[in-house]
């Protein structure tokens, strides 16, 4: 039976009203979709997985608390396979097809950088979990890019610790050939030289190198007392074992990235004893005033995932909390979750979390991010610097520097 011309109009009208009503009602109860991109497979999968779990925990915590003004939060996760070109493709998919209101996650600048450019192009806020390179926030203004960590939060306490707590005369710096590590190494050298410390070795290496022994022989000859090793978790595994095997008489080994992990202590065993690392958070290492929140996070994370959360997990949690708080703020004002509204809320954010008091400067960098120096003591990760956050004394020179592991 064919519809006549006149009867078609009311049918279209009804359909239009139905769609309109559905869309209005849908917005009210519809889930808030947040996109997450992390390296879940490939070379960076270890830390990418940790960030993912932190983000997932934050979203589940939010939903358990009733969501955002009654709207559930839906996390749309994507794996960038530790490859920048895949990160771009996945970000485009999240922005074009999934129509997420914000992006979160990311580990290392080579993966975060391209996504931050897309976020700006689409005017969708992106809060990066682990990004350090200055160029990302300082080269060209990107009002839609925010991050919960930055390089100063590592370099400043590290150099203060070396100059004030260890006071060595000769220091060696070894760093991975990545933009963030190279930038950190350069700034550490500059700061330590200003303090009168002689940098006797300054070398870069390709991450994943299986042999550090020639470098260690030079280290022995140089008479360096302290080695600052800007490599990553797996590089420390090899370097520390070879350092102990060759009996290099070093007074302190500092690995800003990769040492302060329970997994590192477990795999390295007794050879990890008295090594220094850095972290922004750890079970028992948190911002003053967040004791209960930090303890609850550790307890509930263990229940949910059956393992210990790490500092990287907390970076993921912190970045997700920033997005959720901003979205909540926008909805409380009765506004749509548009990119600009979310961006404004993020820019005005000021919340105390276990890892940091989170507020951003005009470039999107965190204002109060500062890591603490930790030392492996009796197989435990102890905060030792700065004194106001220390839970133990610094052991220096490290015992067994020239003895068996």
């Amino acid at each position: 039976m064919a519809l006549r011309g006149r009867s078609v109009i009311p049918v279209f009208g009804l359909v239009f009203l139905f769609v309109l009503a559905a869309s209005v009602r849908g917005d009210e109860g519809a889930p808030v979709r947040i996109g997450e991109i992390n390296p879940l497979t490939g070379k960076l999968a270890t830390h990418g997985g940790e960030i993912h779990e932190g983000i997932l925990y934050a979203v589940e915590e939010c939903n358990e608390g009733g969501g955002l003004r009654g709207r559930p939060v839906e996390l749309v996760s994507r794996d960038d396979q530790s490859r920048p070109e895949v990160a771009i493709h996945q970000a485009e998919d999240l922005l074009y097809r999934e129509k997420v209101v914000a992006l979160v996650g990311g580990y290392v600048d080579s993966l975060v950088g391209p996504v931050s450019v897309l976020a700006r192009k689409h005017e969708v806020p992106y809060v990066a979990s682990a990004s350090l390179q200055r160029a990302l926030t300082r080269q060209a203004p990107n009002p839609f890019f925010f991050r919960v960590a930055h390089l100063d939060g590592i370099v400043v306490p590290l150099c203060r610790f070396v100059s004030r707590a260890l006071s060595p005369r000769r220091v060696a710096v070894l760093f991975a050939a990545t933009p963030g590590a190279a930038e950190m190494a350069g700034e550490v050298r500059e700061a330590l030289e200003k303090d009168g410390v002689e940098i006797v070795l300054f070398e870069k290496f390709r991450p994943g190198s299986p042999d550090f022994t020639p470098f260690l022989m030079k280290l022995k000859e140089s008479g360096a007392e302290v080695l600052i090793s800007g490599g990553f978790f797996p590089d420390h595994l090899i370097l520390v074992r070879q350092l102990r095997d060759l009996r290099i008489p070093l007074k302190a080994y500092i690995g800003p990235w990769g040492v302060a992990y329970p997994g590192f202590v477990k795999e390295t065993g007794p050879a990890a004893e008295h090594l220094f690392g850095m972290c922004a958070w750890g079970p028992g290492i948190h911002m003053p005033g967040t004791d209960e929140a930090s303890r609850r996070f550790v307890r509930r994370f263990r229940e949910r995932f059956g393992k210990e959360p790490t500092t990287t997990t907390m970076h993921g949690y912190t970045s997700a909390r920033a997005v959720l708080e901003a979205a909540k703020g926008v909805l409380e004002e009765g506004r749509d979750l548009a990119g600009e509204a979310l961006r404004d809320k993020l820019a005005a954010l000021d919340i105390l979390l276990p890892m940091e008091r989170l507020a951003f400067d005009s470039r999107g960098d965190p204002l109060h991010y500062e890591q603490v120096v930790v030392q492996i003591q009796d197989g435990e990760i102890q905060a030792v610097f700065p004194p106001e956050r220390a839970a133990g004394e610094v052991v220096y020179p490290m015992e067994g520097a020239a003895t068996a592991p």
């Binding site: 530790s82 299986p210 022989m217």
Partner: protein, 288 residues
């Protein structure tokens, strides 16, 4: 100091040789370009890790177990590879790349993305009369690379079976015409190559680290050392590994850590130009 540097260089070279040996044998006999080689090495490493961590099996006992397990694994790979049609080299490359991806994801599910290290079997030993130390991993590497090279060399040179394998490596068609059972030679190459991979795996897990995505590094090492050595040149593998290890060590010592890859690359190009047949292979005379 120099004793220690040379000891480290030869240990590194032995490590490279041991990682490459299985790949070189399989490639030489079957012409299968096994891109899953590194993943098989990792699998051996993960098996050793599981045995030492979960059952406190001494390190030396993990070696025969991994050799057996990886020989079986290589046998399964052979069953897949023999189904490959022409062009064999290209299709085997695609097939083994697929196998590598499956193995990567399998290891990710079984062992997670955490970095693992096979525990060291004891502490380092000071060499009498020298200010140099030999770690257990270095001792194993030197002993096993020499032992495996000698065993494989004797097998290929002194046995009838070895001669048949060599004939297959040199000219498959001629060997087949002479009555050499090519299919059985391929099977044997996969089984022996697999057991060599099983020997390399636990040492890889002790010298380097284990991560599901780390297989490509081992595959690249194997390809480079095989090019150095030349197809079917077993002694050349050890020599190629040592040359590479020595060049890298001296480059890092004199120039810096960033020189390692540059020196390896230049050396590889020079070898390809100067001795494309391999470091120990006799030079072919031009036909007048």
């Amino acid at each position: 100091m120099w004793v220690q540097i040379f000891l480290n260089a030869f240990s590194l070279g032995s490590f490279y040789a041991l990682v490459a040996m299985g790949f070189a044998l399989i490639f030489g006999v079957t012409h299968a370009f096994n891109l899953a080689h590194g993943e098989l090495v990792l699998l051996g490493g993960y098996l050793a890790y599981w045995l030492t961590r979960s059952f406190q099996v001494p390190f030396y006992w993990t070696l025969p177990f991994c050799m057996l397990a990886l020989a079986l694994g290589a046998l399964l790979l052979h069953l897949l590879v023999r189904k490959v049609r022409e062009p064999f080299e290209l299709n085997s490359l695609v097939l083994t790349f697929g196998v590598a991806l499956i193995l990567q994801n399998g290891m990710l599910s079984l062992f997670s993305a955490d970095y693992r290290l096979v525990p060291a079997a004891g502490g380092p030993v000071k060499l009498p009369g020298f200010a140099a130390y030999l770690s257990p991993a270095q001792a194993w590497l030197l002993a096993l690379s020499l032992g495996a090279t000698a065993a494989l060399y004797l097998l290929l040179k002194r046995t009838f079976f070895g001669k048949a394998l060599r004939a297959t490596i040199q000219n498959r068609e001629a060997a087949e015409l002479a009555g050499v059972p090519i299919r059985r030679m391929r099977l044997a190459a996969f089984v022996i190559g697999g057991s060599l991979v099983g020997l390399a795996g636990p040492l890889f897990g002790q010298m380097a680290y284990l991560h599901p995505a780390g297989g490509m590094e081992a595959t690249l090492v194997a390809i480079v050392v095989t090019i150095f050595a030349g197809i079917g040149q077993i002694r050349g593998i050890l020599l190629g590994g040592w040359i590479l290890g020595l060049a890298e060590t001296l480059a890092v010592y004199w120039g810096g850590a960033s020189w390692r890859e540059l020196v390896s690359g230049v050396l590889l190009i020079l070898f390809l130009l100067w001795r494309p047949e391999g470091v120990l292979a006799p030079k072919r005379r031009a036909v007048p």
